[in-house]
Assembly symmetry: C2
Homo-oligomer: 301 residues x 2
């Protein structure tokens, strides 16, 4: 039962990694949190110390906020079921990595009196706090005025930085920021396998740039493939992937044919487009210093 | 003139970035250092406080060590000129990123009495010291017994870690460690240009993984394209590049056709091959923490 005066919140997919992160977060904010998940993991709810919503529709009808944290494939289906049952004055949010499609569905299927805020936390569930993290919000225009200031200041009070974007623009930027980044790292991981390259042995001969790169390849391969596959479903990502493959082919042709001038020309043009490359070098130097210091500690404990 | 008892060293290409890093390093070790460079930059020698060798052949004849730090394209040509003039008991070294071809040339063109040690410092000239850095040595078998212990303990005394490799194996490992790493990052840089993607603006919407990745793209684009183009000349790199492009195409096909199961399968298999992915996740978490702390400092100075 919800205690009086507490904000009652239902997290759909709240037994998953991202969902349970938010369940703990809002529990700590004294929200009255219930979670629901498709596989009925009541144990997860118990371990977090929140309620498990056996009947998600009934819980949604009584909630002040419904937060969706289900895989992107299921998002629209769950919205269709739950959104029409929400009461006026409540808030429907999602934490999906894509925004155009879920926003359209939330706006369409919730009653006009229900507010809608798309949310994309730019961090994974391994982050301990919101300090220094970026959260992108895509609030529905004309349907977020009551809740937006509350949600925004809540996240900001924990040190998060809030950025507002239009859902379409969000997906366009994320096709590079997420889809291309992951795609390149996963491509490297698949290449190491295809070459039967000994990753552990190679650590003896690492440059710091390789060492950090290979850890990010491992980082992505260590996590839920579901999330990474779904990020590639971004409708704007296909063009980005194809451009990347095209540019790699162009670079490879130059290198294969010994046209080093051509290779250098592509690099110089890319550097010019990139802009502040020297700032990037300096920031990466600091990370490398950090990694080298850790390396020393690992070897001389 | 060389002071008595000092090790006399000539660095060919010692006016370049890497060469002058080593000129400063050996100067600080009280070596009597002379540098030579193809463009006659005597000012660089003066600013480091070492001699400039106007006549490189004459200087080589009187040197205890000749260290080659010229572009890979010029390495064999310079070896052919200089190596036959070196005196017995002296040492010929290079700091080229590839090892098979330079080692063959050094062994062939220097007299039998001249020792030969291939050197590949796994760091760039922006590193302040050798502490925690890896240096790969490819000593000529039977022709490095006098100098190898000296060179090795010198580098180790500054905290470098020395790894010994056969030249062929070195090039095979570096086709991944260096050539593939750089290739992927340069490919991303070229993609950002081709998409006319606004890198500065995207920083507002960064995930930490993207933020670090984009800084490494900028890091590589900020540096001398000559070095990066020459690393792609590694005879083992062509196969690696082609495998990478092939794997990216395979992944992209899965994503384009909506075969998320196929995409996840490639990820799972790559993870299995990779091995210790969770350790990689934890190391990358520490780098991300570091970056986020810096982010906070940048915003609230």
């Amino acid at each position: 039962m919800a205690a009086k005066g507490m904000t009652r919140m239902l997290i759909l997919g709240g037994t998953g990694e991202t969902g349970s992160w938010f369940a703990r977060y809002f529990r700590d904010k004294s929200f009255d949190v219930a979670v629901w998940g498709p596989s009925g993991k009541t144990g997860v709810a118990a371990s977090i110390g929140v309620r498990y919503a056996a009947d998600m529709i009934k819980e949604a009808e009584q909630s002040d906020i419904v937060l969706l944290s289900v895989p992107i494939e299921k998002t629209v289906e769950v919205i269709r079921k739950v959104a029409p049952r929400m009461r006026p004055g409540s808030l429907l949010m999602d934490v999906t990595s894509l925004k155009s499609e879920p926003m359209k569905a939330m706006i369409r299927h919730a009653h006009q009196g229900v507010e809608v805020i798309g949310t994309h936390p730019m961090f994974g569930p391994t982050m301990p706090t919101l300090m220094g993290q970026i959260i992108i919000l895509t609030p529905a225009v004309g349907r977020s005025e009551t809740w937006l200031p509350r949600i925004r200041s809540l996240f900001e009070s924990d040190g998060a930085r809030i950025e507002l974007l239009d859902p379409e623009e969000h997906d366009e930027i994320m096709a590079v920021v997420q889809a291309l980044t992951h795609f390149a790292y996963i491509g490297i991981g698949a290449t190491l396998q295809s070459l039967d390259f000994d990753v552990e042995k190679s650590r003896k001969f690492m440059s710091p740039v390789y060492e950090i790169m290979i850890d990010f390849v491992g980082r992505i391969l260590d996590q839920n493939p579901e999330l990474y596959a779904s990020i590639q479903k971004n409708p704007k990502a296909m063009k980005v992937r194809q451009t990347f493959i095209g540019e790699c082919m162009r670079l490879s042709e130059k290198a294969d044919s010994g046209d080093l001038e051509g290779f250098k020309k592509i690099m110089r043009e890319a550097a010019e487009h990139f802009g502040q490359t020297h700032d990037a070098l300096e920031r990466s130097d600091r990370l490398i210093d950090r990694r080298i210091k850790e390396r020393g500690l690992e070897r001389h404990p």
